[in-house]
Amino acid sequence: MPPPLVISVSHLAKRYGATVAVDDVSLDVREGEIFGLIGPNGAGKTTTMECIEGLRAADRGAITILGLDPRRDAAALRRRIGVQHQDAHLQKRIKVWEALDLWSTVYSRAVDADALLARLGLDGKRDAWFMTLSGGQKQRLFVALALIHDPELVFLDELTTGLDPQARRAIWGLVMDIKARGKTVFLTTHLMEEAERLCDRVAIIEHGRVIEIGAPAQLVAKHCPERRVVFTTDAAGAAAHFAGIGAVTPAASAGFIHTLHGAGDDFVTDVIHIIAHEGIRVRGFRTETPTLEDVFLKLTGGSVRG
C-alpha cells in the first residue's frame, strides 16, 4: 500500500489581473517523499506553493493538505507545516536566538532551539544580528524556523538560489536529513541538478501547467533514453566494429575520438563487449547519460531561463 497522501491538488488556477500565474496544476504528494516543483522562473511554482500553504486563495481548483482545506483551516494548518519563502528576510537587527525564541513561543510545541542551531551549524551565530549573516547562514536560519515546531510537512521555495556551491551542498544535506526524519518535503527549484539529487518525484511546470510528473530517473528513461559513449583510440578503423549496435556520428569520429550513440540499458555493455572482444586499445572512455535537465529542455523546448 502506498504511503498516504499529504497533498492533493486538482486543476488549480490562479491569475493576478490579466496575468495567468497558474493555469492548470494537478499533483499528489505522498507522506515521506521529497517532491519537487521544477520549472523556469515565472512558471507558477511559487504561486502554486503559496496556494497549497494557504497564503493565497486559488481562483479555481481543489486543494487538500494534511486532510485540511488550506484557506478554511488556515490556523490549524499553520501549526502543522513549516515554510521557507523565496527571498525572505527577517528584521535586520533581530538576533538569531531571538528569532528562534519568538517562533518557539508562537507555536505551541517547539523542539530544542539550541540543538536545532547546532544541527544546522549555526550555534556560533546565536547572538548575531540577522543582517550580519551570510546568504547560506540566512537560509539555514530559515530552515531552522521552518523546523522549530517539528512540522509534518515542510515547504522550501528556491532554497539554494544565489548560494555558492558549498553552501548549496550543505543545504542539500539538511533537506535529506529532514526526509530521514520521516517528514515530507515539498520544494521548488529551477536548478535541475538540485531536483535530480534531492527529489523522489518531480513535477515539471511551464506557463502555469504541469507537463510531466515522475521520478527523475523514470523521466530520463522515458524521454531521453539515448546514451552516448565517447572513447579515444589509436586503432585505425575502430568505428567499423560498432556498426551493428548503434550509430557512430561521422563528424564526431574526427581524429581518434569516437562518439557512439545508442539507446537502452544494454548499449553501454555492448560497446564494452566489442572493445574487449576486438582487443581495441582504448586510451579514454566515458559514458554520457542524459540528465533531468535534458528531459526538461526537451519537454519545454526552451532553455532554463535563469
Binding site: 500553504e53 497564503l55 501549526r79 519563502h85 528576510h89 528584521q91 537587527r93 513561543t105
Partner: protein, 245 residues
Amino acid sequence: MFRGFLKLTWVETKIFVREPMGLVGTLGMPLVLFVGLGRMLGAGRSGAPALGGAPFNVAILSALLIAVSAVMSLVTIISIYREGGILKRLRATPLSPLTILGAHVAVKLVFTIAGLALLVAAGRQLFPGALDVPLVPFTAALLLSTLSILSLGFLIASVVPTARFAQPIGAAVVYPMIALSGVFFPISRLPSGLRLVAYALPTTHAVALMRGVWEGAGWQWGNAAALAIVFVACSGLSSRLFRWE
C-alpha cells in the same frame, strides 16, 4: 496567543532600540525641541503660564511631535517589513494579523510614554513649576492622540507602494497636519475651507484635547470622540486596504 503578542512586542522593542536613528527621531528630537524652544521662549522664568502661554504651547507641540514621529516611524517600519517579506513570513506563522500589527502599535505607545516621561523629567529640571499639570489625563490624552494618528499612519502604510516612498509620503501627509492643528495659531484664524479640513484631522483634536487638560478645562469629550472616530475609520479602511506583500 497573548504570549506571542508580548514576545513579538518585546522583540520589536529591542530591535527598535538597536537602530540609533529611530531612537533619536522618537525620543531625541521632541526633547531637543522642547528644551530649545522652552528656553528661547523664556519658560524658565515663571513656570506654567510661560511654557503654555507664549506664542504657542511648547509642551503640547513637543508632545504632538512625539506622536507624529511615532507615526512616521511606524509607516517606515511597516513598509520596509512588507518589502522585505518580513510581514509575509510572520503571517505564515500562527500569529494572527492583528497580533502582528498590534505589536508594532504597542511598541509605538511604549515609546510615546517614554518620550513624554523624558519631557517631564527635563521640564522638572529646567523649567520648575512649568509642568504642574495633571499628568495622568495629559498622558491619556497623548496616548489616545497617538493611537488615532497611528491608525492614519496604518492607512498611509497600506497604500504606499514601496519603502522608498513611505517616508516622503508620510511626511507630506503628516507635517501639514501639524501646521493646521491649532498648535501654532488658533483654528479660528484659518479660512473657512481650511478650517473644515482642520476639523477632519486627528492632530487638531489631539491638540485641543491636550490643551484642555493643560489649561485646566478638563477632558474634552468631543475631541476625544473625534479621535476615536478617526481611529475606527482608519483602522477599518486599513483592514480592507492593507497589503502584506
